[in-house]
Symmetry: C2
Subunit: 256 residues, 2 copies
């Protein structure tokens, strides 16, 4: 099968013009088929602050009321997504910005209200990869924003790591997929205070131990859950690394 590189780029990298420009330059240089998924993080919080809308987070997840959904769709689906698309087009990459609503790419269910009401937050239920595959085969490069829909007219705020894992998994039936989660650290760290304590190779049972021991914590846990799920769905390689290393593929290699 033909190779496809799937890059998820997170918060801080996307927010700063210089780091984003370098990332797009490196991404543009990756040969062959590719897909980019971006978050947006604090830029939504900044706009919310300016508008006097309170940002409520629970365990790093944003409670998404009507106005917060509007902000997220504007920032992630509008400004961040289209800035990336224009930047890639300038580098000769035929980028195409998409949310999960576009061509019904990702259908989610609104998260059920339990102890916490997350509001307009979606859990991915279905990825319609067929049309995406035909776009990719025509050398288009999808740029996915972390917004999906319920197919009933509602947009839903959806975790970008989850979107990366689910869509990469859906593409694994058509391509030999390498999924790279990149962010500001060099990889998954054994010691959060030591940037050079990168775990080179992490399998599921070791991951479980590290979680029990408190070595792997917080946002890294769901990210790794998504990584393992992608491998189970047929993704060939999953790597967690820093943004400047997406071409060298150093960092942490996740294995089943």
């Amino acid at each position: 099968m033909e190779k496809l590189t799937f890059v998820k780029v997170g918060g801080k990298i996307v927010e700063e013009e210089v780091t984003l420009r370098i990332l797009l330059h490196d991404f543009a240089a990756i040969p062959g088929y590719k897909v980019l998924v971006h978050g947006g993080g604090r830029s939504a919080t900044r706009l919310a602050n300016r508008l006097g809308v309170e940002s409520k987070m629970v365990d790093g997840r944003r409670i998404t009321d009507e106005e917060t959904l509007r902000i997220i769709t504007m920032v992630y689906g509008g400004w961040v997504n289209k800035q990336i698309v224009a930047g890639l087009q300038a580098s000769g990459v035929n980028a195409l910005g998409l949310t999960g609503a576009d061509m019904n790419l990702i259908r989610s269910d609104k998260r059920p209200v339990g102890e916490i009401d997350y509001g307009w937050v979606g859990d991915v239920k279905e990825v319609n990869a067929g049309l995406l595959v035909s776009f990719i085969r025509r050398d288009m490069v999808p740029v996915l924003a972390p917004v999906t829909h319920d197919k009933q007219g509602h947009l839903l705020n959806t975790n970008a790591d989850t979107i990366a894992g689910k869509v990469a998994g859906a593409l694994a039936g058509y391509f030999d997929v390498t999924l790279i989660y990149c962010f500001e650290k060099k990889g998954v760290l054994l010691d959060a205070n030591n940037d050079n304590s990168v775990i080179a190779r992490l399998d599921r049972s070791t991951f479980g131990q590290y979680v029990t021991q408190g070595i792997i914590q917080e946002g890294m846990i769901p990210k790794l859950d998504n990584a393992f799920e992608a491998l189970e769905a047929g993704v060939k390689q999953v790597i967690i690394t820093q943004a400047s290393d997406i071409r060298r593929k150093t960092g942490t290699h996740i294995v089943l």
Copy 2:
């Protein structure tokens, strides 16, 4: 050639939830291939006000500084576009939201600074219809936001009426295109204060006379210029009508 209906929907209709819902319902019911182009108008001004950003207009055109460009991209390219896409998907229409940056659909030049510096405003130079045509033939329905790019990494605020005329013109080589500009009035009026004074049929020379006589004024002049240009580019039929009449095709029929 197969038929394609191209609808441009303007400011007030898009801004109000009820009128938008009715428009999307009517648009969804149009048989065959179709494209929707939307503006956004006052919703960008409202957000600018809340953010303390001054909206400067010259002859109904928005002066677009860096911050205004960001607001326009967020509102038109983000919230309005994705709301429409999600709404159409709920009606079973396979909508795909696009700006001119996506797959390099519309390349514009930044308007040269003359007596007025419009800032990040684009004049359309090139429409790449090929990929759009193949999407449409696969029953996707493009939803275009009034933002384009210069292919050098900059997004540009671009008039939605112009986008409608240029893209409809570019599609005229592939489809039998009907272009409908819809808004809150019943058509082009002989008397701005009489909603029933609709001109049923308007040709270019009569248009010239009406402009000279001051009967047709302001924003209607560039809209009609776009309409005539679309006809010259091969569009079969151009109609200016109210949003509730897009299926009946009443209103003003523009002819060369």
